[in-house]
Symmetry: C2
């Protein structure tokens, strides 16, 4: 199993088509969440999505955002990231790739990673359904903006 793929940002049209094929209603709220995720490829949290959409849909409730994200994740069009223990993050790119979280600015960046069969041993008889690779540290921008402190090394 080789898992090198291009990470492609799906278009809203592609997403809508996929959801329709799976008989998932494309309500106004759900479309807005999808739209936000495609236009903000920054792995937003539920809170961020809610805050942004609440601006224009003042009646939107956080429950709906939670419900919608759950539906989208189960439909396979959105990936839930558990890179931080206190907050789920969401990624519209579902192709396999790694995630790096900067401990200073909090941003999450994508990186490509290849995991060949040879790279991991001892899982021969396991059924692997999901793979997450999370790195943490300091991103180049934050490294430039401050001298590397002792605790960083």
């Amino acid at each position: 199993m080789s898992t090198e793929k291009k990470c492609t940002l799906p278009t809203l049209e592609q997403l809508k088509k996929t959801l329709q094929e799976r008989n998932i209603n494309l309500s106004h709220q759900r479309l807005k969440v999808l739209e936000y995720l495609t236009s903000h490829n920054t792995h937003p949290s539920t809170e961020e999505i809610y805050e942004a959409l609440h601006q224009e849909i003042t009646t939107l409730s956080k429950s709906t955002v939670y419900n919608t994200l759950k539906v989208l994740v189960e439909a396979g069009v959105v990936r839930e990231l558990m890179i931080e223990n206190n907050e789920a993050r969401y990624d519209i790119i579902t192709d396999f790739h790694g995630h790096f979280k900067c401990e200073r600015c909090g941003d999450i960046h994508n990186f490509s990673i290849r995991l060949d069969d040879l790279a991991y041993k001892g899982l021969g008889s396991y059924l692997i359904k999901q793979r997450d690779v999370y790195f943490k540290g300091v991103c180049p921008d934050c490294l430039e903006n401050k001298t590397i402190s002792q605790e960083d090394l």
Copy 2:
């Protein structure tokens, strides 16, 4: 950077020595938590550790377990796993290795994995301080005990 290492279970004596070197008091409660982690290499949660130790130390509070685990993680002798969003798990083996969580029985198994420089691209100027590899699926025991259901594939 090649990161293939043996995953060795440290002895209680080694751990005590390391903590003493870092001027961390080895209180009764802390020793008990350490002892539990070395004798139960099953990536227990805070709750599991608390429940087990509470049997013999009836006055033990959950805050102390939380505090102790935090101290041990910061001292570098325990690794915090965020493989599940609603619950932290703790691993006394701090050498780099992957974790597989079975969605049926909930067990977490270790596996060895090698991440060469060549395997991931685009992180050249990042300062990487922590790497987590989490796989999810069904473990061999659970696969044997039940016919593979449609949703597993």
